[in-house]
C-alpha cells in the first residue's frame, strides 16, 4: 500500500480490468456493474471498520465512505438484492470489529458463532427470509437480535432499535463520531469485541460465506489484492481468523446443501 513503497520505484496503479479493450466500453473499471458494486460495498465496510488509530480519523473521509455505502445499500434494496446485503454485512461485521457500535449492524450471523438456541432460531428465520425476501421480517429479526445481543456499552441507546435500515452505516459513523466526540465507552467496545474474537477464534468460517452473486460464475478477477490487501492492512484478529474467500464461483445449490447440513448439526438430527 502507499507509504511502504521504496522510493524511486514507480508504483503501478493496480488495474481491475485485464482486457484493455473493455475500458473503452465501461465507464468505470472493466468489471460488471454489480460485481464492482459489491466490491465497493465491502471495501467501504472494511474502511469504516478499520482499527482505531491513535490519531482521530478524518471526519470527511468517514462521511464520504458512509454516503457511498448508503447509496449502494439503497440501490441494492431497490433491486431487492437483500441477500447480497446480508452476506456482505456478515463478512465484514461477523466478528464485531473494534469500531462497531452495538447492534443494528449485527445482522444474523449466517452461521452460529454462538451455539445457542437463539442462533438456531435466527438461522431458521434467515433462511425463511432468503426465500421470502421481505423487508419486514428482516426488521423483526433485527430487533430480536438486538434483544439477544449483549449490549452493555454506554454507547448503546434505545433510539437505535427504533431506527430503520439506513443507519447501518450511519451507526458505524456514529460509533466513530461518538469515539471522536466523547467516550471512554469506546474502550469498552474494543475490549468486548476482542473477547468475542478470542472466544471464537478457533471457528473457521470460510465455508460459510454465502455469496449470492451467482450469476457471475465466470472467473471475475477483482483487483488482484483488493480486498485481501485492504483487509490485511487493517488486520485485527477477527479478520485473520475469518479467512473468507471471495469465492465467486460458488454455486447456490452447494451452499444450500451446506446450510442443510449445518441445520442438521445444530438441531441434532
Amino acid at each position: 500500500m502507499l507509504g511502504s513503497e521504496r522510493r524511486g520505484t514507480k508504483r503501478k496503479l493496480t488495474t481491475m480490468a485485464d482486457d484493455p479493450d473493455d475500458l473503452a466500453d465501461r465507464k468505470t473499471s472493466g468489471l460488471p456493474y454489480a460485481a464492482e458494486r459489491q466490491s465497493c460495498f465491502r471495501i467501504s465496510l472494511v474502511k469504516l471498520q478499520a482499527a482505531q488509530r491513535l490519531i482521530e480519523p478524518s471526519l470527511r473521509r468517514s462521511v464520504l465512505i458512509c454516503n457511498t455505502l448508503k447509496h449502494i445499500e439503497d440501490e441494492l434494496r431497490a433491486e431487492g438484492n437483500l441477500g447480497l446485503l446480508h452476506s456482505a454485512y456478515a463478512f465484514a461485521t461477523g466478528n464485531t470489529p473494534a469500531c462497531a457500535p452495538p447492534t443494528p449492524i449485527r445482522q444474523p450471523e449466517p452461521m452460529p458463532l454462538t451455539l445457542n438456541e437463539s442462533a438456531a432460531e435466527d438461522i431458521a428465520s434467515y433462511i425463511e427470509d432468503l426465500n421470502n425476501d421481505t423487508v419486514q421480517k428482516e426488521e423483526r429479526r433485527k430487533t430480536n437480535k438486538l434483544e439477544c445481543a449483549t449490549v452493555n456499552q454506554s454507547t448503546g441507546s434505545p433510539e437505535e432499535t427504533a431506527k430503520d435500515h439506513s443507519p447501518s452505516c450511519m451507526t458505524l459513523t456514529n460509533a466513530q463520531l461518538r469515539i471522536q466526540s466523547s467516550s471512554l465507552g469506546a474502550n469498552t467496545v474494543q475490549s468486548d469485541s476482542i473477547n468475542l474474537d478470542e472466544i471464537f477464534s478457533d471457528l473457521d468460517n470460510s465455508l460459510y460465506d454465502l455469496d449470492f452473486l451467482t450469476p457471475y460464475t465466470a472467473n471475475i478477477k477483482l483487483t488482484p489484492l483488493s480486498e485481501d490487501d485492504v483487509s490485511n492492512s487493517f488486520s485485527s484478529a477477527s479478520f485473520a481468523t475469518h479467512q473468507v474467500t471471495t469465492n465467486q464461483t460458488c454455486r447456490q445449490t452447494e451452499e444450500w446443501n451446506e446450510l442443510d447440513h449445518i441445520m442438521e448439526v445444530l438441531v441434532g438430527m
Binding site: 502507499l2 507509504g3 488495474t15 465497493c40 482521530e56 473521509r61 457511498t68 485492504v230
Partner: protein, 494 residues
Amino acid sequence: MAGGGDIQWCFSQVKGTVEEDVTEGEAPPHHYLSVDPDGDSWEYENGTRETEHMLPGSEDVGSDCEDGDICNADIISTVEFNQDGELLATGDKGGRVVIFKREPPETKQSLPRRGEYNVYSTFQSHEPEFDYLKSLEIEEKINKIRWLPRQNAAYSLLSTNDKTVKLWKITERDKRPDGFNLKDDEGRIKNPNDITALRVPFFKPTELIVEASPRRVYANAHTYHINSISLNSDHETFLSGDDLRINLWHLEITDRSFNIVDIKPANMEELTEVITAAEFHPSMCNVFVYSSSKGTIRLCDMRQRALCDQHSKMFEEPEDPSNRSFFSEIISSISDVKFSHSGRYLISRDYLSVKVWDLQMDSRPIETYQVHEYLRSKLCSLYENDCIFDKFECAWNGTDSQIMTGSYNNFFRMFDRNTKRDLTLEASRENTKPKCILKPRRVCTGGKRKKDEISVDSLDFNKKILHTAWHPTENIIAVAATNNLYIFQDKDKV
C-alpha cells in the same frame, strides 16, 4: 505550448532535505539544499541565520524514519506567499514553519535576475498534543498558513494545526545596545565604585538575527479538525473553519470567538455533509464562502444575521447523469476554494476538475478545466488505496488569468483562461538545471503510447502535489512535492 505570449517555465530552486543525507538510524539533519545559479554545484546552506529557534534534526519529534525513506515530519503541508511576494512560508507535518525570503540579486548579472529565495527563519509552530479525554493524539501538522499584511517592521502570520491557531510575529534584530553604565561588555554588573564617568548607551550593529515569537494562541474553539483559516479584509478579524463549524475571531482576543456557521446536526447519525474549506472575500469584509463535501459552495453575508447557517447564494453544478457512479459524491467533494484577486470570481477544486464561478451566477460554473480526467476509469482503485480522498489545492495568478493545481506523479497543471490552453509540468529532481525550461508532460490515456508520453498505469500515486502557490504579482510559483519545495520562474525574467 510555446509561443505567442505563453509563459515558459523554468527551474529556479529546490529546497528540501536530501535523501543521501540520511544516515543509518538517524533522522536527517535539517539542511536546506539550494542549487548554485551557475548550475555547477549543489551546496548546502544551513537552516537559519539565528540560533535560538533552530531545530537540530535529531531532536525533532516524530522524525523517526527509516533509512532511505522520506522523513514523515518533513512532508510539506502548506505553502503561502505573503502579500508582496518577498516571503514564502511553508509548514510541514512536524509542526515546523520555514520562511524563505527573496534576496535581491547581488549584481545585475547574477542569476536568477530576480533573486533567490533563501531561508529566513525556522521555528516550531505547533507541538504534538494528546487529548486525554478521547485518548487521541492531536497532530502537530500545519494545515494552513496565512500572512497578515505588514504594518511595521515585523512580519506576522497565522498558522494552524487541527485544533489551535497561533499568531506568530517574526522580527529582525541587527543591532544591540551597548555602552551601559552599570553593566560591562559581558553583561556583568559593575561595581558602582568603579564607575568614574557617564556615557550614553548606543546601538551597535550585529549579525542579523531573526526571531519568531508566538503572540496569540487561539485555542479550544474547535471540536473537529480545522481545515481553513482566512484573514478578513478589515485586517482585524479572521475565520477558522473545521469540519462542522466556522468561528470568527478578533486578532486581539484569544479567549472568545463567535460561531458563524454550524452544520452539525442534532443527531450525528444524520450527518452527511462536512465543511471542507472557507475563505473571506478579498475586499468585502462581510462576505465569506465555504465549500462542502457534497460539492456545494455557499456564500454568506455576515450582515444578515449572526449565525450564517442560511446562505445568501449557493453555487452548485447539477450533476451530469451520464457520469454517475458510486464515487460521484466523493469526487464532487470540494477540496479547496479560492477567491480571485479581483473578488469577482472564485475557483473550486474537486477531485478531477477545477471550476471557475462568477459570483453573480450560481447556477453553474463559467469555466471547467479537467485536471486528470483519465483517472475517471480508475476511481475504484483510487478509492481502495485512499487516493480519492486526497485534497488538492488550487491557485490564481496575480492577474486572475491563470489557474494552477496539482496532480499525481509530481505533475502540476496550469490553465490559461484567455487562450484556453493548458500545460502539464513535472516537479522532479531531474529537471534541476537552472534556466532549464520545463518540458510539458503528457499522459497517454489509451492506445499507442507516443514517445515522451507516460501511461496512466505508470503514474506514481505516492508522488502527489497537493500544495502550490503563485506569487501575487510575478510569474513565480512554489510547488510542494512531498518533502521538497520547488520554485519555478518565468523564463523571460530569469
